[in-house]
Symmetry: C2
Subunit: 163 residues, 2 copies
DNA sequence: AAGAGATAGTTTAAATGTCAAAGGTTTCGC
DNA sequence: GCGAAACCTTTGACATTTAAACTATCTCTT
C-alpha cells in the first residue's frame, strides 16, 4: 500500500527518522499525484509547468532562467525545455535584456496570467479539500515543525548551499 | 530560494493549507535531492531504484510487478523499465511462476541483497544526520500529525482509491 | 467449450528529471 | 585592451514519470 512498508517489518519501533521520512514522502506523493491528475484533467497542464507559472505570476516583470531554476528547484537544463513548451503554448515569452546578452528572462503573457490565476484558485481549493479533516491548530503546528525540519536538513547538506 | 515564494508575497497570512503544502513540498524536495545526490555519488544508484530494492529486501521470496508498483507508488510501465535495468545490473531477477503465466515476480539476487543492505545503512544515517537538529519529541509529533494529514488527503481523492 | 470481460505486463509518446560538457558573453586583472 | 576566469544558458545522453494503448493470459458465465 505504501512506501512505509519499507521498514514496518522487523524493527519499525526504532528508526523514528526513517519512519518520519517515509511518511512524509508517501504523503507528498499522494497529494502530488492528486494535484497532477486534476491539473491535467481540468487545465491540460503539468505540475512543473504550474510551479513555473506560479513563480512568474509573482514576478510580473519576469525572471531569469537561472533564478527560475533556483526557485522551482529544477535544474537549469530542465527550465530551458519547460519554458520552451510554455512559450509554444503562448503562456510565456522569452526576452534578452539589453544590458547582458547572456541572460534570458521569462515573463507571463496576458494569456498566461489569465490561465494561471484560474488554476491557482482551483489548486488552493483542492488543497483545502484534501486537508479538510485536519484541525486548523494542527496545520499551524505542522507548519512550524516542518519549518524546523527543513532548517535542520538545510544545515546538514553535503552540497555547498547556504542560507 | 524556495517553492514557498509562490505565495509569500501578497496574502501569505491567509491560506494556511497552501502554505503548509508548499513547505512540505519544498522540504521533501530538499531531502530527496540530497539523498539522490549521495546515492548516485556513493553507489551509482537512483532513488527509484533504491525504493524498489527496499521493497524486495523486505520480501525475500519476491514480489509481483503490480504489487511493486502499488508499494512504490510508481506506475506499472515504470516498474517494467526499473526492473529491467536492475536485472541488467545483476541485482534482481525476474521469474514467471508456473500457475499464472501473466505474472512476473521480481526477486533480489545475492548481489542485490548485499548492495542494498549497505545502501540502507548509509541511507538511514543520512536521514538521522539531516534531522539532527529536530528534537525527538518533535519527530514523534510530526509522525502523528503527518499521519493525520495523509488520512485526510486519502479521504478526499477524486480517484477511486479506497482504504 | 465459446466468448465476454477482467487482469498482468509491456510498449509507446510526450514530458520531466539529472548531470556533464559546450556555447557565447561579460568581467576582471594586468 | 587582452587573455583568463566567471557567468548564463543551451545541448546531449540517459533515467524516470504519466497516461494510454496494446498483448497475453486467465476466469467466469452460459
Amino acid at each position: 500500500m505504501d512506501l512505509e512498508i519499507i521498514v514496518q517489518g522487523a524493527q519499525a519501533e526504532s528508526k523514528p527518522e526513517l519512519k518520519l521520512w517515509l511518511r512524509l514522502l508517501s504523503t507528498t506523493k499522494l497529494i502530488s499525484h492528486e494535484i497532477r491528475r486534476r491539473l491535467r484533467a481540468e487545465y491540460g497542464a503539468t505540475l512543473p509547468q504550474f510551479d513555473l507559472l506560479a513563480q512568474l505570476y509573482r514576478e510580473r516583470e519576469g525572471l531569469r532562467l537561472g533564478e527560475l531554476s533556483r526557485r522551482t528547484m529544477v535544474t537549469n537544463g530542465n527550465v530551458t525545455g519547460l519554458v520552451e513548451r510554455l512559450e509554444a503554448d503562448g503562456l510565456v515569452i522569452r526576452e534578452t535584456p539589453d544590458g547582458d546578452r547572456r541572460v534570458t528572462v521569462a515573463r507571463l503573457t496576458r494569456k498566461g496570467e489569465a490561465l494561471f490565476s484560474e488554476m491557482a484558485a482551483a489548486h488552493e481549493g483542492w488543497l483545502r479539500d484534501m486537508m479538510a479533516d485536519v484541525p486548523p491548530e494542527l496545520i499551524q503546528s505542522m507548519l512550524r515543525e516542518v519549518g524546523q525540519l527543513k532548517g535542520s536538513a538545510r544545515n546538514h547538506l553535503s552540497g555547498a548551499e547556504e542560507e
